[in-house]
């Protein structure tokens, strides 16, 4: 017998971290198989439609639904009178899904229909007669806070129960929310200043423009349990909230989220249409599908928070920042959603982007008859950064300092604890500034452009920079900011990762799989991710605040480590060694020292399962970041890590037309560590384009409470030919708490663009613009001296 000794197989070390991994769901999406909510149909479903107000502000005198009810094919017609148990919804619980006595904005929901087809439902809406009595329209928040202004939410007649919400007890003024924050003493700061600058900035309405319009399908089963298909970004919190609105047990609510449609913050709140869809399904005892038209999507979706902001800042001659004082007037719209709470994020930028010893911040969010603002990628930070980064340039010019040098002098460093209590355990800000400046040749171009400004010719070149700080390790907005994971391994060493994290297009499935594969030495193809179903997945706060990679990533790693420990313990026992001598690599158990294969992992797992003492590799993990839920003074380390970025924008301004062309964006992002390079590039590039739209073209025009351009013809998104050249660098600061060192950056790339563009236009033309967007006419007017300097005198009514 000829025996040949088998050569031991070894597997060299390798890592998936930082590689380019195509999104796992890309083939499905590219081939059109991924289902939007529109593509889902339940047998027996009815179609819901909503009758919205024909007036901006009016008392409802009478509603007649008799003709609509009589239309063949109509199953249910509801008004507020038909749902006496409806409860107030929204962040401040200040409105009812169906408005009964008064409409306060153009979007207001008056009645709803469920019918056998969309056409019948639409026809039924036309048959509903509403008699209005007009009320004065308050379209300007400055008018709304004047003493004696008509009240948007006056107290209703009769006594109301104590502790009732705004919707029940009304409000004695038009102030929806206020925020007051301070550290240090701005009076002292101003006294120490050599230069003080004050400007007013005006930020406009834009909206998310998700690829899929909003929609919901609701079905109650025979035992009264509710199944919802919804694009919500916070399924677990909303499960409880929807149950409250229906007065049912939250345990009987199940939410399935389609993985496509788009969120960008727009699905963080519950909106009337969702609750109305539930009411319709409950009344019809049939599934109801309610999907917006695109025009309705514009009219009835939240916007980014419009802000009027006066910022006063100072510095010393040597470039040291001394103080900032900020007053903002937030147009809250008719009802309160998350937009009103953007000061949570805005004040972080003012207090902590740079080292500033004295900071004073005030926001008043005021009810008007305008559309209401919600959360939107960046959450107030685009607005705050627009103001602060323009003033950084202005102050640098006032003391004759290069804008880069001025920023470097005041930039935060690792180890800093800010006045607001944020701790920068990893901070690549200085690297961001230097990298973006060097790669764009910022300082030379900045000087050259300024020198060439008055040369003949209608095309002027400009370069501008802006930087940002944003939460990168979740945000403890709620008492918990955690996420759960269940991990199980089958007989063939394939892993099913059941995660609380919602996949709404951002690429979480791929990055979570990557992190698990890294721990378990498996190829990406071994992973299946199960998500987006509250009946299956463990709890998670939601997909927002750039938190998924960080929080769900750490959670997935935790579950994978537990699985690895279990596997290695079994292997050690079987092969007579210690677990420390073994590792997992290439789908095998290997010797840690030299990579020699001990056994195939699938074989080991099968042995484990097919025995009379069977054990399963099935683990769970719950990750809660070491961050702090801020107190009433808004102080505390709200995130486990912070992301930084500097973006340099280069523009060409046509002084004959006011057209601003964005030529190039050079970005440097402190991302902690690059996990999936392909994914993070896509995230940053997409964010830059969103920022470009905010800066240049997108503008939801509201006149006297009426939206003038609810369509893509006149609401201009950026199209492909306008997208600038991009040069993006990643600064790897290796965050100690982050998964493999990474930070969350979902929101970061959109934040700086408008501010950097403003600085670039000023560099090109010598004219500074304080209000967005930089549409050709606005720029042209400013260039031709047709724009009076904005000034809003902060007026803060007594608390």
């Amino acid at each position: 017998m000829n025996v040949v000794a088998k050569k031991p197989r070894t597997i060299p070390e390798s890592s998936l971290i930082g590689t380019r991994i195509p999104k796992m769901d890309a083939p499905e999406k590219a081939s059109g198989r991924t289902r939007y909510i529109h593509d889902i149909n339940l047998s027996g479903q009815l179609y819901g439609k909503i009758l919205r107000s024909a007036r901006v502000h009016a008392r409802i005198v009478a509603i007649d639904t008799s003709a609509a009810k009589a239309l063949p094919g109509v199953h249910v017609v509801l008004t507020a009178a038909d749902v006496p148990d409806q409860r107030p919804i929204g962040v401040a619980r200040d409105h009812f899904p169906l408005k009964g006595d008064r409409v306060r904005s153009q979007r207001d929901e008056i009645a709803a229909v469920a019918a056998e087809s969309e056409e019948i439902a639409a026809a039924a809406l036309k048959l509903i007669k509403v008699v209005y009595e007009d009320l004065p329209v308050i379209a300007d928040p400055e008018d709304a806070i004047k003493p004696g202004a008509p009240l948007l939410h006056p107290a209703p007649a009769g006594a109301q129960p104590a502790g009732a919400t705004v919707a029940h007890r009304g409000k004695a003024d038009n102030i929806a929310m206020r925020f007051d924050y301070a550290h240090g003493d701005v009076v002292q700061g101003e006294a120490e200043s050599d230069v003080v600058i004050e400007d007013t900035f005006k930020l406009h309405y834009v909206t998310h423009c998700c690829m899929g319009v909003s929609g919901m399908i609701a079905e109650f089963d025979a035992s009264g349990s509710l199944l919802m298909y919804s694009n919500t970004q916070v399924p677990f919190l909303h499960k409880r909230e929807f149950a409250e609105y229906l007065n049912m047990d939250p345990a009987r609510v199940r939410i399935i989220q389609p993985p496509i449609g788009g969120g960008f913050g727009s699905k963080l709140d519950i909106y009337p249409f969702e609750v109305i869809c539930l009411f319709l399904a409950r009344a019809a005892r049939r599934p109801v599908k309610l999907v917006f038209s695109r025009e309705e999507e514009f009219l009835a979706s939240p916007t980014r928070q419009p802000v009027l902001l006066t910022l006063r800042s100072g510095c010393k001659k040597d470039g040291t920042l001394t103080f900032r004082q900020v007053h903002t007037l937030h147009d809250n719209g008719a009802y309160t959603s998350w937009g009103a709470t953007t000061p949570f994020v805005m004040m972080q930028t003012f207090s902590s982007l740079y080292r500033v010893p004295h900071c004073d911040y005030h926001t008043v969010a005021v009810y008007t008859n305008n559309p209401y603002a919600g959360s939107f990628r960046g959450y107030g930070n685009l607005q705050a950064t627009f103001a602060i980064e323009q003033q950084m340039d202005e102050m640098a010019a006032a003391i004759g300092m290069d804008p880069l040098a001025f920023r470097l002098k005041n930039a935060q460093h690792t180890g800093e604890v800010t006045g607001q209590g944020m701790e920068f355990k990893s901070c690549g800000f200085t690297d961001c500034l230097n990298t973006a400046a060097q790669r764009s040749d910022f300082s030379r171009k900045f000087a050259d452009n300024a020198a060439e400004r008055n040369q003949p010719g209608h095309l002027k070149r400009g370069i501008g920079m802006a930087s940002m700080l944003h939460v990168g390790g979740g945000a403890k907005i709620y008492p918990s900011d955690g996420c759960g994971t269940i991990l199980k391994m089958d007989d063939f060493a394939n892993v099913t990762l059941i995660t609380g994290a919602s996949e709404i297009g951002q690429g979480s499935e791929t990055v979570l799989s990557q992190l698990v594969c890294e721990e378990l030495g498996l190829p990406i193809s071994a992973l299946t991710v199960v998500n987006n179903d509250t009946a299956i997945t463990p709890w998670d706060v939601g997909v927002h605040a750039s938190r998924t990679t960080f929080i769900a990533g750490n959670s997935a790693i935790g579950a994978a480590k537990k699985a690895k420990t279990k596997i290695l313990a079994v292997a050690a026992q079987k092969f007579g060694c210690t677990a420390e001598e073994l590792d997992l690599r290439g789908g095998c158990v290997i010797k840690a020292a030299d990579g020699e294969v001990v056994t195939e992992l699938s074989k080991l797992i099968r042995n484990l399962h097919f025995s009379d003492k069977a054990e399963l590799v099935m683990t769970t993990f719950y990750y809660e970041p070491p961050s702090v839920h801020q107190g009433k003074d808004y102080k505390g380390d709200v995130s486990a890590a912070y992301a930084w970025a500097t973006q340099v924008v280069e523009v060409e301004v046509d002084t004959d037309t006011g057209i601003v062309r964005m030529l190039k964006v050079t970005g440097a992002h402190d991302v902690g560590r690059v996990l999936n390079r392909l994914g993070i590039e896509g995230q940053v590039e997409g964010g830059i384009v969103m920022g470009q739209g905010y800066a240049l073209t997108e503008n939801l025009m509201i006149e006297n409470g009426v939206m003038k351009n609810p369509n893509f013809r006149d609401y201009k998104l950026i199209t492909a030919p306008e997208i600038p050249e991009m040069d993006v660098s990643f600064i790897e600061s290796m965050d100690g708490e982050g998964p493999q060192g990474a930070k969350g950056i979902g929101e970061a790339p959109a934040i700086c663009i408008a501010a950097a563009t403003a600085n670039a236009i000023a560099n090109a033309t010598g004219v500074r613009l304080y209000d967005l967007p930089f549409t050709p006419e606005r720029v042209y007017r400013a260039l031709h001296g047709q724009t009076p300097k904005l000034y809003w005198k902060p007026w803060v009514p007594a608390a």
Binding site: D656, T657, D714
Partner: protein, 288 residues
């Protein structure tokens, strides 16, 4: 749910015109404007919807004596791709490049764009500059009767033309430009395509010794209809295009238009654009 009672798709011109006699007919060609307008409720489809796309006579681009005849059903893409148009009417090709998007250009027709009579309609501007006429066919008795009216007289107001309800626009005829003829089109917008004009400008004439003869100027989106600018044309006619003349002509152009404020721009800004862009175009002509 709609008042639409009848859909017809005639294959001959005669049958189509017969159908029009009903008076309550909506004509469907490319459908690129009809579909969104009716879906948004801004336009109502009448009792009969008539699809004219199966009528061969309405198609094709041909040299016909001293003129180019472009069938009403010719799509914007077909104009862009036509060697005949490129050779004789290059400004029309230039215009079509700025027309909406590929998808819309593939479906949208020249006849539809003109009958739509948008003040911001793109093709009207170069056609006005080229002195085009539209051919309208009707059938009062047994025979088809055709009349031709200059495009400059065709538009009456937004969405309104001199086409009567019983007429069909069958073709656009464009006289062959004289040798040495130059023409340019400018559409103001921040996008390459998919933009509705804030203003558009067409300028044409025969260039000789640095001056334009038989000058024609047309403006879009500054009045209720696309229009010929008579005063600007008079100021331009035969003038050597030096800096002073260009400044003077641009000022005339600014004063000649009376635009309105809308969501796309204010009247003031439109007048500024007319001035600045007319100036820029004439500078280009002078340098040519």
């Amino acid at each position: 749910m709609t008042e639409l009672e009848r859909y017809v798709a005639p294959t001959t011109l005669a049958a189509a015109i017969d159908c029009l006699k009903d008076g309550e007919v909506t004509i469907l060609a490319g459908g690129t404007d009809l579909t969104p307008q009716t879906r948004a409720g801004r336009m109502r489809i009448k009792r009969t919807l008539m699809n004219i796309r199966r009528i061969p006579e309405l198609k094709g681009i041909a040299l016909d004596g001293g003129a180019i005849r472009i069938g009403a059903l010719t799509t914007i893409t077909e104009i862009m791709d036509s060697a005949l148009i490129a050779k004789h009417l290059p400004v029309l090709v230039e215009t079509c490049r700025h027309f909406a998007s590929d998808q819309i250009r593939n479906a949208g027709t020249l006849g539809g764009n003109l009958c739509n009579a948008s003040p911001a309609g793109d093709t009207a501007i170069p056609l006005l500059v080229l002195g085009a006429s539209v051919e309208l066919a009707s059938k009062p008795e047994d025979k088809i009767y055709r009349r031709s009216i200059p495009l400059s007289e065709f538009f009456v107001g937004p969405g309104q033309t001199r086409r009567s309800l019983c007429e069909l626009l069958t073709a656009v005829t464009v006289p062959l430009p004289a040798p040495g003829h130059v023409a340019r089109f400018h559409k103001f917008g921040t996008r390459v395509g998919l933009d509705i004009s804030t203003v558009s400008i067409g300028i044409g004439g025969t260039l000789k010794d640095g001056a334009l003869a038989a000058a024609r100027v047309a403006f879009g989106a500054v009045a209720a209809t696309p229009l010929r600018a008579a005063q600007t044309e008079a100021a331009l006619e035969g003038q050597r295009l030096d800096a002073a003349a260009i400044a003077r002509i641009a000022a005339v152009a600014r004063d000649e238009v009376h635009p309105i404020d809308d969501v796309r721009a204010t009247a003031w800004y439109r007048k500024e654009l007319i001035h600045n862009m007319t100036k820029r175009m004439l500078e280009n002509v002078a340098q040519a």
